[in-house]
Symmetry: C2
Subunit: 160 residues, 2 copies
């Protein structure tokens, strides 16, 4: 885990991969997005998607899961080395969330986040703000989701 | 269900309410956002939130569920009257998604969507584009989530 001062624009995080199985897609969609092309293979085959595909909110939530896991591993690694752990978050929201391609059954999405802007917070002394672009790319190299987020990161104690 | 020509800027949809129970909050967060303040009451009490609260993605997904239900009821009502049903969607993405206040256990969020812009699609003949502002307000009148979306809506057949 890095304090604000050690984060550079261009730093990127390979968060890992998430494979969307048919039951996982349908379970999520039954609860939160029960459009036919997310819950029924036959209806999906007749839709403009042509086959069962994941809710966009599912594709976004999978990023969140991998992001939390990644930050947790970094925190634990810092703690294991006896290093201080900076405070992160919360996220203030998301911008420009785009679902660029459908995510079909069996697709494996590789998620990645990259720091694209860094500035000191004026509202919250002791913290910086990072703007992060996150993307998901399928096994064919096609980007399926993209969004921007801004999150607080603690500054190293003792810095002016 | 209305075709593009019958939708007016300012039209609004009261989508209904969603109450966030503790188990629902924890079940969602265990799968998609396992930060301690979303999955553990004691840890949440020690966090800056002060109590267990829902993942922001859960708050957004609950909107999606109510939106799909609402559109389905409108579609079924049109069909019951023997009226033609316009094609809707898909959503292209979301913008300016803001989590403005935490959603705590027992909070009931009233979701509402309002058309704020309307224009003919240049890329997809026969369709218009609606920009919609969606919000969730808790039982104390505080807005907890807000975002913009743009979605395709079919034009009435036979219109130039």
């Amino acid at each position: 885990m890095k304090f604000f001062e050690e984060v550079r624009v261009g730093d990127s995080y390979e968060l890992g991969r998430y494979t969307f199985g048919a039951e996982d897609i349908k379970n999520f969609a039954r609860r939160f997005d029960p459009q036919l092309f997310h819950v029924d293979e036959d209806a999906a085959a007749q839709s403009h998607f042509g086959a069962l595909c994941a809710s966009g909110w599912h594709t976004a939530a999978a990023w969140m899961r991998l992001w939390v896991n990644y930050q947790r591993h970094r925190t634990e690694a810092s703690q294991a080395r006896g290093e201080p752990v900076p405070g992160y978050g919360p996220a203030l929201g998301f911008r420009e969330l785009k679902w660029l391609k459908p995510v079909y059954v069996g697709d494996t999405i590789a998620y990645r986040s990259e720091v694209i802007e860094s500035r000191v917070s004026e509202s919250r002394p002791g913290f910086g703000l990072l703007t992060i672009r996150s993307t998901g790319v399928n096994q064919n190299g096609e980007m399926v989701i993209s969004f921007l987020s801004t999150t607080f990161v603690e500054r190293r104690p003792g810095k002016p």
